[in-house]
Structure formats: C-alpha cells, structure tokens
Amino acid sequence: MSGDSRTGPASDGVRSSGDDPRPATYYHLAKAVLYREYLIFVRYPANAIGGIVISLFFFGLLFYGGQMVAGQALTDSIEGIIVGYFLWTLAVGAYSSISNDIGSEVQWGTLERHIMTPFGFAPVALLKGVAKVVRTFLTSALILAVMLAVTDTALQLPLVTITVVAALAICSVLGLGFAAGGIAVLYKRIGNWLNLLQFGFILLISAPAFELGWTRLLPLALGSSMLQRAMIEGTRLWQFPLVDLGALVVVAVGYLVLGYAVFELSTRRARRLGVLGDY
C-alpha cells in the first residue's frame, strides 16, 4: 500500500488529484489485501505467537514423550517427524486461517462487501489465501528452526524446492479450507467440527505416496513425501520425476478448484436460503 497520501480537502468545486477516481487494477487489489493481512499480523501478534507456542508445546510433548517411550527408534526417525510436523503446522495454519477467516467475515458483515466487488470474489479470496499462506510460512519457519535447535538435528534446506513443494502441497489444503468455509457459511457454527479435519492431515502427511500410488491423489500426501526427500535426502526440484511434479501440480490445482467450487455452491445455496450474512 502506498504511504500516507493525505493532501487535505480539495477546495469547493475544484477536483484535486486526490478526488479524481481512477480504476484500481488487480495489482492494487493485491496490495490492499496483503497490506491488510500484514497490518493485522503486526498489530495483533498474540494470535500468531499463541499458535507458535502451542505448536512448539505439542512438538515438545511428541519429542520428549516419544523419547521416553520409543527411545532410539524415535531419535532415528526424528528428521521425518520434524519435516512432517513442519508441513502439518503449515497445513493447519493455512486451513484454519482460511476457513475461520470466512466465518469471521460473515460475523463482521464484510463477506457481502467482498462478494459485491467488481473484481469478483474469487480473486479476492485467492489473494487472501496467498496472504494466509505467506503468514503461515513465516510462523512455520520459526517453528522449524526451534524444532531443529531443540532436537539438535540438521536438515537440508533447499529453499526453492521447499517453497515450491510446500506451497503446492498447501494449495490443496487451501481448497479444503474454502470448502469448509463455504459449508460454515451455509450451516453456521460448525467450525469446531470442521477443525477436527486438521487431525486428518496427520494421516495424509504420513501416507506413503511413493509406495502406494493412489495416495498421490490425496491432498498433502505427495507433497509431504517430496518434502521429506528434499529436506532429508537433499533432492532438488528438478531431480524429481516429471510425473511426480505434474501430479503435485494437478492435485494442488484440482483440490483448490474443487474447494472453491464447494464454496461457490455453498454461498449460492446460502443466498438462495437468505442466510448468507447470518451467523
């Protein structure tokens, strides 16, 4: 967003440069949506910090509790656990922020204004999703750093590969978030039930996508396996088979489109029932 543009009231009858409406482009839209997310993030950090603390607390339980129970077996597989947990925090952050955000927009009465935009709701929603993912990447990166420090573990960090693979894996989760948000708009106050889905992410992340071919079609599964290879074995993006990369893209786009379609259908049904703005 541009800086402070206050130029003072224009004199009567004379249009100043500050009162000469110019059409906004998608660039302006992106700036506005991302800047709003940034403002909320820096102005109200308690939520983000709370999320990080809770994530680390559960990781601590998993790591130290697991060591007591499984001993060396857990230590041997700690790299996989860290990568899986990193992806899980990313997925949970993206999923809950997009589904909860839609519910909040309904409560605030702002969802309708976003639907009534000449840009169309889809680009606005997509940009909001991107903003959530960027935010979640930052917090999850911090969690990853603490996990590595606590467990004294070293991982490969090929940034481009991690960013691309994780982002595509998270795209499918965004789709699930849109679907959940749409269902919440229609049925109201079922957010707690939909939040249970995030525990299902653990199964998806641990699915053996390379060994069990059909699981590649599930959200997160292939992305998780590829991320394990990238961060543990140091595989670079261009070293993955094309078919895996293609499958990753198709699954990401497919679930995103499917999730958005569910959101569209749900909000259309909500408009038909006259409950769009109800909460």
């Binding site: 500050g18 059409p23 482009t25 102005r43 204004r113 009534m116 000449p118």
Partner: protein, 349 residues
C-alpha cells in the same frame, strides 16, 4: 508485468456510461421481485411482486414495519439473497446476469455498524474498501478527508474502529460505503442505535454528500424522521408488498391523513361517547375546562360532526386540521404497523 483490470468503476474521467442503455436507464429498476422462504404450508413470501424504479440522483426511502420485507428486498436487489423471480437493473446493467459489471456502480451498508474491519483504523478501512470497490485509494484521498471531516471522524481517523463508540462505528460504516465511487448506494437502517444528535449529524451530512456527488440512494429505516428528512420519495412496504410509492408531500396529502381536531369547553361525557360511536376518534384529551378530540374522517364526515356539535349547542373554541406527519400516513396505510412513538405523539400534541 501487465496487470489486467477488472470491469472499470465509474470515474470522473470515465463516465458511468459504457453503453447507451447505461446512459438512458434509471439508476435502479426493480421488476416483479419475488422471494419465498420455506416450502409448502410453512412457506413465507418475504418479497411479493415488488416493482419500482429510482431515478438518478434521487433519494428513496423504504419504509415498513418489522417483517415487511425491506431488508430482504434490498438484499435481493443486491444479489445477496437470490430471488425466486424478477429482475434488477442497476444503471442499465442486469445485476443477476452481469454482477461484476453492476457492482462497479453499487455499494451498500447492510448491517449497520457491522460492515467494516474493527481491527483496522478508520482511514485504513476507507482505503481498503475503496480499493475493493475498484478505485485506487490515492485517487480519492481528498474525498476521504472530506468524509472524515463531514462525519466528525477526522480526530479518530487513525484509531482502530473497535475503540470507537457505537455511533462512531456507524459513521465509519457509512463513510466506508461513501468512500468508494459507487453511484448507487443502499443504506439499511443507517441511523439504527444512534443518539438524536448523531442521527441529526448523519442525516445532515448524508443530504449534503448526496447533493455534492449526485448519488442515488435507497435507504431503509424505521425512523420516519430520517425518511421524511432525507428522502425525496417513499416506498412503503407491508407483508412483502409495496402498498404506497410516492413523494413525501403527496403521501402527506393522503385521504388517510385527513384529520380534524375540534376543541370546546362544552363537550360533556355523553357527547364524547356519541362522537366516539359515530366517528373514528383517534385521540381525545379532557382537561379541567376544555375537551379536544381528533377525528379521522372525510369532508362529509366533518360536516356531520359539526352538525352534531351544533345540534348539541356546543360552542367550538377551535377547529383545525393538524398537520399529519409521515408516521400518521404510515400507520394509516399499514393498519397501525406499530404504535405511534411517544416522542412523535408528544410533538404532535
């Protein structure tokens, strides 16, 4: 990188018209709007064949008792509730067929103080919603400053909305709607919950802003003072139907508003009873030395009343027609859709 532009909002450089139909049409045309909720015996017709049009630059009030269908009508017009049948054209554009093109002309305050971000500052809200509506916020920065001044928000411009009073939040909601470049604005209960002073300020500034920017406004309110004060024309709804659609002046001349007030020291209890039996007595007040009776009747009935009083040897202190207000008209048309407010009753006495 080339950025694609959305359908263009109306700007000073780029007039609203992109096609002849957009130039010639009224700002808003609603035709045969019907919306039912539920099915079978429990079905409720919230909007029942509602049709009207609104000329550019006019302010139209939507009035009706609770459950009359005002909010559903507005939400149906905007596509936030999908109607069962009917069509809506905004600046000549069918809002259901081409919503994105139609939305560039439109903004709405639907939920009172519930349509902006309370965690952002007032100014940030204006800039954000201007962008969402399709306008570069810097290009309307001066407009935003004027709005902040006009709505007494300048001092609070950099404070988060959540820290403001309810009245201020309501003003921010209105400001964020007017901060866009919409030419047709929908305001659903814009003064709900405001104190008298805030309501007066908001009405005064709304009138001024509407005139300055040649806005078309459809405003729903329970507050008849707001409607009477701000609107050129009033549409009265009851049970989902439009039961009156006229200018405020014309509505005040409705036959339902033909009220006569007679005051005399000679009207005793028996005569009061007889008058009550024969005429539609709206109000009767007896003091120590005089009796005042308000009767709703036509001119023939009025002559009958005078004849009755004369036959009883009553000396009339005064006979006059109290000026009806919009609330009298509204109550007459909706068969009492709510009792006349105490404040109003006091004022008419």
């Amino acid at each position: 990188m080339t950025m694609q532009e959305p359908p263009q909002p109306r700007t000073a450089r780029q007039p609203a018209a992109e096609s002849p139909s957009e130039t010639d049409d009224p700002a808003l045309v609603v035709d045969g709007l019907v919306k039912r909720f539920g099915s079978g015996e429990t079905a409720v017709t919230a909007v029942d064949d509602v049709s009207f049009s609104v000329d550019r630059g006019s302010v139209v009030g939507l009035l009706g008792p609770n459950g009359a269908g005002k909010t559903t009508t507005i939400k149906s017009i905007l596509g936030m509730v999908l109607p069962d049948s009917g069509s809506v054209r905004v600046q000549g554009v069918d809002i259901y067929e081409h919503p994105r093109q139609a939305y560039r002309h439109v903004d709405a305050m639907l939920e009172g103080a519930r349509n902006d971000y309370w965690r952002l500052t007032v100014r940030e809200n204006l800039r954000y919603f201007a962008t969402i509506s399709g306008v570069v916020p810097d290009s309307v920065a001066d407009r935003h400053e004027r709005l902040l001044d006009q709505l007494d928000l300048a001092e609070k411009a950099d404070e988060p909305v959540r820290s403001l009073s309810r009245g201020m939040k309501q003003k921010v909601s209105l400001a964020s709607v007017l901060a866009t470049d919409a030419s047709v604005v929908f305001l659903d209960e814009p003064t709900l919950g405001l104190d008298v002073e805030s309501s007066l300020t908001l009405r005064r500034e709304l009138r001024r802003i509407v005139a300055e920017r040649d806005l078309t406004v459809l405003l729903s309110s329970h507050d008849m003072d707001v409607i009477e004060d701000v609107c050129d024309r009033v549409i009265i709804m009851n049970d989902g139907r439009v039961i009156a659609d006229d200018s405020v002046e014309q509505l005040l001349r409705q036959p339902e508003a033909s009220r006569f007030r007679v005051t005399s020291p000679d009207i005793d209890a028996a005569l009061r009873r007889e008058i009550t039996e024969r005429f539609d007595v709206v109000e009767a007040a007896v003091t120590d030395d005089t009796t005042r009776i308000d009767v709703d009747t036509d001119s023939a009935g009025f002559y009958d009343l005078v004849a009755l009083l004369r036959a009883d040897g009553v000396t009339l202190e005064s006979v006059r027609t109290p000026d009806p207000d919009l609330e009298d008209v509204f109550l007459g048309l909706t068969n009492g859709g709510g009792e006349k407010s105490d404040e109003r009753r006091e004022r008419t006495r």
